[in-house]
């Protein structure tokens, strides 16, 4: 794992590592850095799909609840309006769709990220507390097929990081 002092060096190193053929790697930054995600080839994700599914489920769920209650289970004549008075059902349907989509987006994001996760090896790195502060890390994982401890170390050294550490795994 290599530690950098500024985002420019980190992105440069991440791009270099990706071009060299490393795939099982990640960057750790104190704020979202779009360029870093692009550099390691993690630009697309499935959160929008999960969110859409949530929206559709919420929408169908909300409308069918209203339909079932107002038409099938508990029909009440209100001012001669039809039991299935769909325009009046739209606000609740809309709210349920938004609710479903939001819950899906947030919990989908957490689930795809594998959070909550009480333990992760990167936290063993002594200086890693600064990843949530002012330092930028690039970690190449040992499961990567191109990973050789010495070679990878030398490779990372080429980007002049502040420090390189081995993370016990």
């Amino acid at each position: 794992m290599a530690e950098f002092e500024n985002p420019t060096d980190l992105v440069h190193a991440a791009k270099g590592a990706f071009d060299f053929g490393y795939r099982k790697m990640d960057t750790y930054t104190p704020y979202p850095l779009e360029e870093a995600a692009e550099a390691i080839g993690a630009h697309h994700n499935r959160v929008p799909l999960v969110c859409l599914i949530g929206a559709i489920l919420g929408m169908i769920g909300g409308y069918s609840l209203e339909y079932w209650v107002s038409v099938i289970n508990y029909p009440i004549n209100v001012g001669g309006k039809p039991f299935h008075s769909w325009p009046a059902f739209i606000p609740v349907t809309f709210e349920c769709a938004v609710l479903g989509a939001s819950l899906a987006a947030v919990f989908g994001m957490l689930a795809l990220n594998g959070l909550p996760q009480p333990y992760h090896p990167v936290f063993n790195s002594p200086n890693f507390v600064r990843a949530s502060r002012d330092r930028f890390f690039l970690c190449i994982e040992s499961q990567d097929p191109k990973f050789r401890l010495d070679e990878t170390k030398r490779f990372l050294q080429g980007f002049h990081p502040r420090e390189i550490t081995e993370v016990p795994y």
Binding site: H43, K81, A131
Partner: protein, 461 residues
């Protein structure tokens, strides 16, 4: 601190104050904002304000306790004015709750980077204001333990279900969805900041507590990527949601047949008023906060000015709505509508009406002047005036329409009682209590978003 003093000077015409004070880097931003939470010593002013708020919260509990024992007869409500303080306060609080999501969602979509320093506590303000709002319909039922099956569709033993054609049920869904989505928005915004607090905490127990809330966040690029997508999606979802909430609230009124309520322009009118009062509340909280905690570097005059400008703009929409209300009454052939408007202006509640015009239309025109927009204490006073005016607006709309409807034999008067006032003051105390707990235990400015604003945070080509 010399820099702070420099920032407080009114800038010359055409010059915008900066978004962040000079001389900050990624580390100092973390320390300054996180320091409020992680400091061992609790400031004296915090304890004092918290004490007053706790006292008011006690009064709220007493008022509600007595209400549950005796019933809603202790309030001023009667027939014909069955909706009194409870609904006025509900609409007022929920309106205040609109600015938070507006700042976090709509300004995010418009890429307004000035939202960054104020979005976190504006979201907290939203959540706490919606909590106060939610309290009122619940206690207005007089028997909140029965309200569950009146409001929420769940299979109960009596086999009865709510009436989905009623705007009151739409309101239940709108407000509870809004509360949940605001909470989610606020919650995911806090995760990376909790991780920052976890990593800069000095004692093990503090580190553990924030560690639990941070859920193992480690700032991975893949995580950030999904996180940003989810954040943006939530912003996109909240934008129509925030506009829908007060629209639905206004339909509670507009779908009735009462003169003064039965109009089609209520939804946009209510939404504009909500944003107006919401920004006023943001200023009411931001100005003392930046002063007490010396946060002038993060909440600069630019933020205050922008809030003031938004207040002015929405205030003008509200003024236009008032004018239209009068115009509708005059232009319509409906004598009840005309009588209602005449009663509002010259009837027993005329004092409230003209105070409302003074507070919401006349005095806020001072915001046209740069001098007022750039002087925090003046802005603070205007914000208080506006929120008083917005409360009066709801009072006037609700009471004047209810007390005199179609038949003079059914007319009546409404006067609030001390229990009404205690409940209103009590919710203000409850709100302040929650807000001060939030300031003490959570990062009240979004640390990671402020970091991303810094010039050294950008990748150079």
């Amino acid at each position: 601190m010399p820099e702070i003093e420099k920032l407080e000077v009114v800038p010359p015409k055409g010059v915008r104050p900066p978004l962040l004070g000079p001389g900050h880097d990624l580390g100092t931003v973390t320390d300054r904002i996180g320091g409020i939470v992680l400091q061992k010593h609790t400031p004296v002013f915090w304890l004092m304000i918290f004490g007053v708020a706790a006292m008011l919260f006690g009064i709220l509990n007493a008022a509600i306790g007595y209400l549950f024992a005796r019933g809603t007869g202790i309030w001023g409500i009667n027939i014909p004015a069955g909706w009194g303080f409870a609904i006025i306060n509900f609409v007022w609080w929920i309106g205040i709750g609109h600015a938070g999501t507006l700042i976090s969602a709509i300004l995010l979509l418009f890429k307004q980077s000035w939202r960054t320093s104020i979005n976190r506590f504006a979201e907290a303000m939203t959540i706490f204001a919606v909590m106060q709002a939610g309290l009122f319909p619940l206690i207005h039922t007089g028997r909140p333990w029965l309200a569950a099956y009146w409001l929420f569709p769940y299979p109960n033993s009596m086999g009865v279900w709510p009436q989905f054609r009623s705007p009151l049920i739409w309101d239940v869904f709108a407000v509870s969805t809004y509360f949940t989505v605001s909470l989610l928005f606020w919650g995911i915004g806090l995760i990376p900041d909790f991780a920052s607090l976890r990593d800069s905490a000095k004692t093990l127990i503090v580190r553990r507590i924030y560690g639990i809330f941070a859920m193992g966040w480690r700032g991975s690029a893949r995580h950030w990527n999904r996180y940003e997508t989810a954040y943006l999606l939530l912003a996109g979802l909240s934008t129509p949601l925030v506009l829908s909430v007060h629209s639905v609230v206004s339909l509670d009124f507009a779908s009735s047949v009462l003169p003064g309520w039965h109009t089609t322009f209520f939804p946009p009118y209510f939404v504009a008023g909500a944003i107006y009062s919401g920004f006023a509340m943001v200023l009411i909280l931001a100005i003392p906060f930046r002063y007490l905690y010396n946060m002038q570097d993060f909440i600069t005059l630019r933020h205050l000015q922008n809030c003031a400008k938004l207040m002015l703009a929405t205030g003008l929409i509200v003024a236009y709505s008032y004018a239209m209300e009068v115009f509708f009454a005059w232009y319509s052939p409906d004598k009840y509508e005309r009588a209602m408007m005449w009663n509002r202006m010259t009837g027993p509640y005329k004092f409230y009406y003209w105070m409302l015009i003074l507070c919401n239309i006349v005095l806020p025109q001072s915001l046209w002047f740069n001098k007022v927009r750039s002087t925090p204490w003046k802005l603070f006073l205007v914000a208080i005036v506006v929120n008083t005016g917005m409360w009066l607006e709801r009072y006037v709309i609700i009471i004047t329409s209810l007390q005199r409807d179609f038949l003079p034999s059914a007319w009546g008067m409404y006067w609030f009682t001390k229990w009404d006032v205690m409940t209103l003051l009590g919710t203000m105390g409850f709100f302040t209590l929650l807000f001060f707990l939030f300031i003490r235990f959570m990062p009240s400015i979004s640390i990671f978003e402020v970091r991303a604003l810094l010039p050294q945070a950008k990748v150079k080509e």
